[in-house]
């Protein structure tokens, strides 16, 4: 008979979820290493935005000052775009039978999604590193303290993790790579551009301005800038509203709220695949 017994221990459910999540994340990262094309896309995309915005729009928006301002916005935008990788990754796992393979194993339900969001968090860290280096080349500098800068990066990564769960929910709803590719990308443009990530919210018409002010992407961009000690030039000065004044607190709350909403949504969606 079985010399090994693997009955899951219900008392350690969340420990098992994290343990198995890390194993799945390892598997995802090995996968990524063998598909360098996907990694390159994830890195080229923010670099393209940096160069486009810095040199095509930058000149009319404040020149060198604007380029310093820009990087915080690029961070928030790039990690939001990376949510589409979570969507495509999970949809691909479903397409290729990997989700069924995992679902037939006695592992906690949340592990597969947690593993995906954790491996995408690693991808986000790589994206931020490369974008930072590109920023340094075009004149961006961290002007605050080391602690503040570290807090800035951590805040952006927390936001990235939160957006990854949005991507996971979309990927599990899409259930095919093709649908995930378009559905996972289309919402990203309004969400990242109706914000203060790249331009002044003040220049937007009434209702759009309210949306942009409260947009978590604006808050994350503004919070990152303030933690990096980057000043906004007069051309793109943010409004004096509550979410801008309290950008760091508001960005933190937004990230936690997104996780609180989308984590259970994604997990229940994963469970419901069992019903057909």
């Amino acid at each position: 008979m079985a010399a090994l017994s693997f009955a899951p221990d219900p008392a350690s459910g969340s420990v098992r979820t994290v343990r198995d999540g890390l194993i799945i994340a390892w598997r995802n990262l090995v996968n990524l290493r063998r598909t360098p094309g996907a990694v390159i896309t994830a890195l080229v995309q923010p670099l393209m935005f940096v160069l486009l915005l810095a040199y095509v729009f930058g000149g009319s928006l404040g020149g060198d000052e604007y380029r310093t301002f820009l990087i915080g916005g690029i961070f928030a935008q790039a990690v939001t775009f990376n949510a589409s990788f979570t969507a495509i990754g999970l949809a691909g796992d479903m397409d290729r039978g990997m989700v069924d393979r995992f679902r037939a194993l006695p592992m906690p339900r949340g592990s597969v999604i947690l593993g995906r969001t954790l491996s995408d968090l690693t991808m986000n860290a790589v994206t931020l590193t490369v974008t930072s280096l590109c920023g340094l080349l075009i004149g961006w500098r961290v002007e605050g303290t080391f602690t503040e800068a570290a807090a800035g990066y951590l805040l952006v990564l927390l936001f990235a993790f939160a957006m990854s769960w949005v991507g996971a929910t979309i990927g599990l709803l899409a259930r095919s790579v093709e649908v995930a590719q378009s559905a996972g990308l289309i919402w990203l443009f309004p969400v990242t551009f109706v914000s203060g990530a790249f331009v002044s919210i003040n220049s937007m018409p009434g209702p759009l301005r309210v949306v942009a002010e409260w947009n978590p992407v604006s808050a994350t961009a503004t919070a990152a800038r303030s933690l990096f000690g980057n000043q906004a030039p007069a051309t793109v000065a943010p409004p004096e509203s509550w979410p801008v004044q309290h950008a760091t607190v508001y960005a933190l709350l937004c990230a936690l709220a997104v996780i609180a909403v989308f984590m259970p949504l994604a997990v229940s969606r994963y469970r419901r695949i069992a019903h057909g």
Binding site: A2, R27, V30, R34, R96, G97, P106, H275
Partner: protein, 360 residues
């Protein structure tokens, strides 16, 4: 529930929208035996396996696997089963070793135990040489062996194999059959689905024939064969006009009158005397000086099973035509079972061309 039954299914029903995939499946598989679930595409084989392996819920009915209810205790069932199928596949971008390590880790093993276990499984399934290549580049047979190894990581008491040989070449099939036989020798209970009567015949202790979501026949291979009526000898005379004389000469060979197919110009007779009957048929034709273009001896196909069991053949066509004839019999008496024949096909003219076809 009986200790002696590893799988019990009662009245499993499952609908997808308006379409019934299962209309009340009943199965009982004694512990340590092999059940072959035989049926064409769309019969409900995969849905049955997905319900029994907790991947899908039944709308109605109940099932226990290894003594645990699949609906009430899915985690306990998952801890006791192994699953291999096209939808529970290996990761193409991981190496064989990484795939087995991954599954071992997810069954709760430590890094060290998982590494050792993966190495053991690679040896057992003859994958040691390919261990560090990504499985995406594997041949079909190697892929299935890896899938099979993945299903056995936890030393499960019940193993589900969904179409383990579909799409494999004859060698890959033979490899997979051997792996399944070893598994059975260990006393594991196996439920395997297949479109091939020979495969079920060769590997399974009992066979359930499934069609339109219900079990239409259940028995041992010989019981089913008796229902279908043995092998088919198909004769193609050179002179088409001689068909009636051929039929007359062959009348004594079978229980029924030979069947004349005027479209293909062939005469078919059902016999249960195997290759001996073939010699007799050729002698009988030589005696009346009928020259023969082609002779084929083929085991009953799944189509024949359906014809015999349902009295009609309103079956969906299989995806592919049967593989080409594989081999002549090694000797005159014992019919060797070759993978590849007996696949369900619609075209009547092709149906008889299994293994053992040769030109006299």
């Amino acid at each position: 529930m009986a200790d002696g039954e590893a799988i019990v299914a009662e009245g499993l029903t499952r609908r997808f929208g308006d379409r019934y995939a299962l209309r009340g499946i009943d199965l009982r598989v004694p512990t340590g035996s092999v059940l072959g679930l035989l049926g064409p595409n769309g019969a409900g084989k995969t849905t049955t396996v997905r319900i029994l392996s907790t991947l899908l819920r039944a709308d109605e009915g109940r099932a226990t696997v290894a003594g645990r209810d699949v609906h009430d205790e899915p985690a306990a069932v998952r801890a006791r089963i192994g699953l291999s199928g096209q939808y529970a596949a290996a990761d193409e971008r991981l190496t064989a070793r990484e795939n087995l390590y991954l599954v071992s880790r997810l069954y709760g093993m430590s890094r060290k135990t998982a590494r050792r276990h993966a190495t053991e499984l690679l040896e057992r399934f003859a994958l040691t040489e390919a261990a560090d290549r990504t499985s995406g580049g594997f041949s079909g047979g190697m892929r299935r062996r890896l899938d099979l190894a993945g299903a056995l990581v936890s030393r499960p008491t019940v193993v589900f194999l969904d179409e383990p040989t579909t799409g494999l070449d004859p060698r890959g099939r033979a490899d997979t059959w051997r792996a399944v036989e070893e598994l059975v020798a260990d006393g594991t209970t196996v439920l395997l689905t297949t479109q091939y009567l020979e495969e079920a015949d060769h590997l399974a202790d009992s066979i359930a024939v499934i069609d339109h979501g219900t079990v239409i026949a259940h028995g041992t291979a010989s019981e089913l064969k008796a229902a279908v009526g043995g092998e088919r000898i198909t004769i193609t005379p050179i002179d088409q006009a001689a068909r009636a004389s051929v039929a007359e000469a062959l009348t004594d060979l079978g229980h029924h009158q030979p069947d004349i197919d005027s479209r293909t110009g062939t005469v078919t007779v059902v016999t249960d005397r195997g290759a001996g009957a073939l010699r007799q048929a050729l002698e009988a034709l030589a005696a009346v000086r009928i020259e023969v273009r082609d002779v084929a001896l083929a085991p009953p196909t799944l189509d024949d099973v359906f014809l015999a069991l349902t009295g009609n053949s309103q079956r969906p066509a299989a995806e592919s035509a049967p593989p080409p004839a594989v081999a002549a019999p090694e000797d005159g008496s014992e019919r060797s079972v070759q993978p590849g024949n007996g696949q369900l096909v619609r075209a009547r003219g092709r149906r008889r061309k299994g293994a053992h076809a040769w030109r006299p």
